[in-house]
Amino acid sequence: MTRSRSRTMAILRKEFIHIRRDPRSLLIAVIMPVALLFIYGYGVSSDITDIRLGVVDWSRTRESRELISAFTSSGYFAVVLRSDRYADMERALDAGDIRAALVVPAAYAADITRKGASSVQILLDGSDPNTATVAAGYAEGIVGNRSAIIVRERTLRSGGARRSRAALTPEVRVWYNEDLRSANFIVPGLIAVILAMTSALLTSGTIAGERERGTIEQLAASPASAREIMLGKIAAYVTLAFADVVLVVLVGRLWFGVPFRGSPLLLVLSSGVFLMAALGLGLLFSARMPTQQTAIVAALMTTMVPSILLSGFFFPISSMPKVVQVITTVVPARYFMVITRGIFLKGIGLAELWPPILSLAALSVVIMAAGISSFKKRV
């Protein structure tokens, strides 16, 4: 056992030398994650302000005016169109004059006073899904805040007898990101994206590269087993990927001020599980593809692209077509995204997160087993 470990250690040490000597790997391991953090962290959080908003206020009450001013005073929306006709909003959205429209029903104030609840309609321009998603988040948050204020006022009026009953309940979904900073949402998700991308990029080249350079021949003629070779390589890239996790958490925490409410240990452990899947995929392609180039492209297509598009990173899975939703169940990043956001923002632990962790673990084991077994020593 310890003797087998020494062989794996030799391979790990050698991989580190390759990584150190290859400027591309430093680029992938250090520069790229930081660049992504800044591109997404800033690109999404600060660029989307003054979203052009159209307003239809059929209520024309103090309550409805308060809601509208909550939108404008947030800084995220600027009212550029007012009308009584719904069709005007549709036309303006079509023409791109507005990005979003707020429709307050006639019964808004009456409903709140009498039933204690109401709903408003928000129309979004889906042609720019990024902005739409962020705008939806903002809008839901603003409505949620209004709701909380209404509840508070009511409880105060009624002498605190009836406690919390939300006024504008159904839309409130971003309650854990209370200051509506999308960086809080983006940075934890980026951990999944960055880990998937770096581990796929770094590992996918390794076996195919040895085959291309002919070095696999010497290794295959040695008594090192395929398992020892794979484990040594995995150990090297896991170390590197964990350094990336720390890097992203630190930059997210210190630069973007993203809260970290959960257990660091749970983040490390679940990252480990996710890495198994990401590295396993990289190795799978590395062993199966004829050249380093095709291996890298294949690894990127199967790890990076789904981890951005099919993971819930940008687009909520619940709003995807049914077929696509089914596909996302085999995307490891989908589960890891839920885990990291839960740990960072909600501070929840194993008690709540065990279902996604379990799904992720199952996927990881399957992928890693396929990755390891795909490398045959015969050349």
Binding site: R3, S6, R7, M9, A10, I11, R13, K14, I17, H18, R21, D22, R213, G214, T215, I216, E217, Q218, L219, A220, A221, S222, P223, A224, S225, R378, V379
Partner: protein, 310 residues
């Protein structure tokens, strides 16, 4: 007599419908230098890779150091050293790093490791380049490093696949001095080569062609058994033009220009006069027609380039 270090019996390797190695049989005595000759594509590397446990034979049997290559390839790998045809150490690692890596892979005990690496570097003459990246070295030094890596774990048998191709003559000689030393220490070496002077230094040889062994024995045996009956060295003016005339003369098996002379493999002794007459009548001034001794080169040309074996 001790057991053969390497033993092949009817070894066959097919790639799909193509037979790369066709019923190859030979034995290598321990401590000898065994040469593998044959034109490109004749199946030398494929045979070596089967013997190293890298390729599974399609049929036949082979044992290296008494271990069956098909049944226990990992057992074979533990006791052999292998230098592949293409340089297969890491070009982005230094000489020392490459050796340290393989010392780890072969599980050389930690306390012995540095001494063993120094010893190998000294022996192969790469110690001055210990800190140089393998990719920055000349082919000659690189090949000596590859040999060093193959010797690190003190194997009893080494397979060297074209270790001197692309290497300058001085480095080649140095390389063969090393092979001679190994042999003196009792290490068995199987070496493939294209150079006849190197083949001459082998204890025994096999000559392969289209996957088959077409001749085997000591260099002297091969010359006796397979050299053409008569070899003539012809000196005349405009040898390039004269070649066409010589090739058409009856009794000439093969002819080639060697510098200012023509090297002619002939059926019988009487050809010397006929050649002289033919060339003179064609207007070539023939200054000398001399009978010379056959070399391995003649054997190689005869067997490898002549009619295909049945």
């Amino acid at each position: 007599m001790s057991e053969a270090a390497i033993l092949c019996r009817d070894l066959v390797k097919r790639f799909g419908a193509f037979t790369a190695v066709d019923r190859v049989s030979f034995e290598v005595k321990p401590g000898t230098v065994f040469g593998f000759l044959g034109p490109n594509g004749s199946g030398k590397s494929t045979t070596i890779r089967m013997l190293c446990g890298l390729l599974l034979p399609t049929s036949g049997r082979a044992a290296v150091g008494g271990v069956d290559v098909a049944r226990n390839p990992e057992g074979v790998k533990r006791q052999i050293g292998y230098m592949s045809q293409r340089f297969s150490l890491y070009q982005d690692l230094t000489v020392r790093e490459n050796l340290e890596f393989y010392a780890g892979v072969y599980r050389i005990p930690r306390r012995e490791r540095q001494a063993r690496i120094e010893e190998v570097m000294t022996r192969t003459g790469v110690i001055a380049d210990a800190g140089t990246l393998a990719g920055d070295m000349s082919v000659g030094v690189r090949q000596r490093l590859a040999l060093g890596a193959a010797l690190l774990h003190r194997p009893a048998i080494v397979f060297l696949d074209e270790p001197t191709s692309g290497v300058d003559p001085i480095s080649r000689r140095r390389f063969w001095t090393l092979i001679g030393e190994l042999s003196a220490e009792g290490i068995t070496a199987l070496v493939t080569t294209h150079h006849m002077d190197e083949a001459q230094r082998c204890d025994e040889l096999v000559l392969m062609r289209t996957g088959r062994v077409v001749a085997r024995g000591t260099p002297a045996d091969l010359i006796v058994a397979h050299a053409p009956p008569v070899i003539l060295s012809v000196r005349c003016d405009r040898p390039q033009e004269a070649l066409a005339i010589v090739q058409k003369t009856s009794g000439v098996r093969r002819a080639a220009v060697r510098g200012v002379r023509l090297h002619v493999a002939a059926e019988d002794d009487g050809l010397a006069e006929r050649l002289d007459a033919e060339l003179t009548s064609a207007g070539h001034a023939c200054t000398e027609v001399r009978r010379i001794g056959a070399t391995l080169e003649d054997v190689f040309m005869e067997l490898a380039m002549g009619e295909a074996p049945p």
